[in-house]
Symmetry: C2
Subunit: 463 residues, 2 copies
């Protein structure tokens, strides 16, 4: 029986990152990565298979990432475990010393009548399935997308670029509802509508119509819509089959329970990425946010800490940092939205700024960038940032994540030295991160009962 020091189950970005990190930290240890799929995909690239990429095969996570980083890649499926021996579908047994579960998540399929009809697809991380889905879009003209989260919106954008008629149906009151505030959801709607999309919010699909093949949908509001294809993107749930076989504590929505170092109830088994439980950066409560940004940090941490805690975790919890691009407008968010701040009963101040992302604004390629910051009114720390604008949003959101993670205050941000360049960024005088911070400081400053403070000082002087 083959024995490895480290076995990673799952070949998505979390598993691959963990295997690389393990090899970097423990170059003398033997490492295997077991993957069920013949081909691994880049999850966040999946929407772009439909138009921007020529084929599914342009969206592949290369096997070399594993093999060239000192790990054996085994295409097989783990079906059971006895002590430290993994039983594979092929009949082989593999022994491990440390085990990492990086088995990801799968689409949640809503209980809608007619989901089995030809022409209904969901976002499955499977090469052949997605190739068939791409193929199907060629014949489809009238496509309904169920779910207006960022995956649904990205798919809609791709299909609109292909010239399809696209309708997005969202249960909540806006697009991107779980990650961004009202005005950003409205902006996403505006840019999708500009591209020709139809958006129906506060609505649900009650049935998929058609005789074997999709011909339309029925809405909860009563209406019927014609459609020859339906794509479901209503979120994902952790894959828990193995965890349950292995007797590990897990929650159906939050995933396999792990401690701060991503260790499960079994001290030699770790879980990372979409399948592992997470807590929120701000509240410490369970978080069901599933993002590559978190999964990658977990993969690196576990890879380094398999045999001893080398990398001490400084920042815990899911920050929820992500970006997307819809019909040429980029969106980014990190940390708390205003809505979440309200939910938490948090005493906050909002700072806002809008400015051109080139200076002077007459330079070619200049786009307006709109930024909203959420500060703690008493603690003065930055807690959240949302923005839309040009491509620079992609890295500005990461800058803001670093600021939030470091618990920097409005005054700290005011002290920042920000590099700007006419062809690359906003004017130094109107740099949005600073301007929005100053906007918050002004509001906060207005709030101080100055008179009262002065009186107190005056009365002190008198004594």
């Amino acid at each position: 029986m083959k024995k490895y020091d480290v076995v990673v189950i799952g070949g998505g970005p979390a598993g691959v990152t963990c295997a690389i990190s393990a090899h970097n930290t423990y170059p003398d240890k033997s490492i295997a990565l077991i993957r069920r799929e013949k081909t691994a995909l880049i999850p966040c690239g999946i929407p772009y298979i439909l138009h921007s990429l020529n084929s599914v095969d342009e969206n592949i996570l290369p096997d070399g990432l594993v093999a060239n980083n000192g790990a054996d890649l085994i295409i097989d499926e783990v079906v059971e475990k006895e002590e430290k021996v993994l039983k594979l579908k092929s009949g082989k047994d593999i022994m491990y010393d440390k085990l990492v579960l990086a088995v990801g998540s799968a689409s949640v399929l809503p209980p809608i009548k007619g989901m089995e009809k030809v022409g209904v697809f969901h976002v499955k991380k499977d090469r052949d399935y997605l190739a068939a889905m791409k193929d199907y879009t060629k014949k489809a003209n009238n496509i309904v997308i169920i779910g207006g989260g960022y995956v649904g919106v990205e798919i809609a954008d791709e299909l609109l670029k292909k010239g399809k008629r696209v309708t997005v149906i969202e249960m909540m009151d806006r697009l991107l509802a779980t990650t961004m505030d009202q005005e950003f959801g409205a902006k996403a709607r505006e840019v999708l509508e500009k591209a020709g999309g139809t958006i129906l919010v506060e609505n649900k699909v009650s049935a998929i119509l058609g005789d074997g093949r999709v011909s339309g949908i029925q809405l909860q509001s009563g209406e019927n819509l014609n459609a020859d294809m339906v794509i479901v993107s209503t979120g994902a749930r952790p894959n828990l089959t193995l965890a349950s076989k292995f007797g590990l504590a897990a929650h159906p929505r939050h995933g396999i329970w792990v401690n701060e170092y991503l260790r499960t109830m079994d001290k030699d088994i770790f879980a990372i990425g979409d399948c592992a439980s997470k807590c929120d950066f701000f509240t410490g409560e369970f978080s069901s946010v599933k993002l590559a940004s978190t999964a990658m940090a977990e993969g690196r941490l576990v890879g380094s800490n398999l045999f001893e805690i080398k990398v001490v975790r400084k920042f815990i919890g899911v920050l929820g940092s992500f970006s997307t691009k819809i019909n040429g407008t980029s969106f980014g968010t990190s940390g708390l939205t205003e809505e979440k701040a309200k939910d938490m009963n948090l005493d906050y101040i909002i700072g806002e700024a809008e400015t051109a992302d080139r200076h002077p604004g007459k330079l070619p390629g200049a786009t307006k960038i709109h930024l909203k910051l959420v500060f703690s009114r008493y603690s003065h720390t930055l807690l959240g940032a949302q923005m839309y604008g040009g491509d620079s949003v992609g890295e500005m959101v990461n800058m803001l994540s670093v600021i939030i993670l470091n618990k920097m205050t409005d005054m700290d941000i005011d002290n920042l030295q920000i590099g700007t360049h006419p062809l690359l960024s906003a004017s130094p005088i109107a740099y949005p991160v600073i301007s929005a911070t100053v906007d918050a400081i002004k509001k906060w400053y207005d709030y101080i009962p100055k008179k009262e403070l002065t009186n107190r000082l005056d009365s002190r002087k008198k004594h």
Copy 2:
């Protein structure tokens, strides 16, 4: 005689930012900004007047920035000061309570024979002068740029886009020599040469030739080159005329002496921006780096602290954060270069990464991004970052500045949650800031004498 609570002298970005900040913090105070020039320019936009912008007037710092932010804009020149009364060229007197000098810097003109000839220009922040310079480029075909710092390189790039023959002559061994390491200077050279430019390094112009009008230059190496226009960009020196009239301590190269809160020897006079002395973030020594990123932070700080210290300064010293774009390739730098680390006798480790800035790399618009990080080998803190790549460099450099300012270590960076998106950023598995950090960690880790540590532990166990 008119009296203001605050008078700012100088209408560049530092002065304007300071006036805005003063008005935001002290809305009840009267503020005036005195500017010599009829029109104020955006300094970093000046190279782009030559091609990307249609005219100098597209590169103007709008007067409204001052007027709409509660300050009086006075176009006049301060010639003398008696106690707290400023004597203006127009004959008017203005009294101040707090005074801010934001009088900037002026080009250093090297002592070359023939500098007075028609067709020799330098980078003067003057509307009419620059309009004449832009005009002159129309007739010129063969342009020599003296100085290969970032202004010289940006001007070269603009003129090459205009279809001119351009030669850059640089005294040091590479382009961008004071701000970036060898390989980045080489990359800047490569992209400028690709655009058709000629670069001569380790060379100097000994004379400008021509009968009244420029016809060529003589190099120190002996050669003569034909040229019908010469643009000098060999750095800048602080404007010290007023400081010297006011009796303030100043150094010809480093500027007006100021304390940590930018206050001069006179407790009611502050100095900010290019005219003010600065110390280096790492060494505390005088720094002669002149960057908008620093000037803006100073302007905001002084504006808030004029009447009392409200914003406590947490990070002092010039970080040297900037970005530029040459022939489509963006460059960024923040903090220490490897060369400066060596000069400081600093025990460092380099981490490097190169990756596509889209994922998968097959997506349209993908560009390679190359990142080099300088870490303290013992303290583990990030001290410097240099990069080139696509436009995302513009904000990535600011993210790295925030990391450096927060004295984050390699392990802190490894713990970061980085948002990535196929259309906006590198793959989460190969995000350059993380990859380069891991590269440094690996080198550092290799260095630990593991055997020795193990032996010590073993011997301890034995007792």
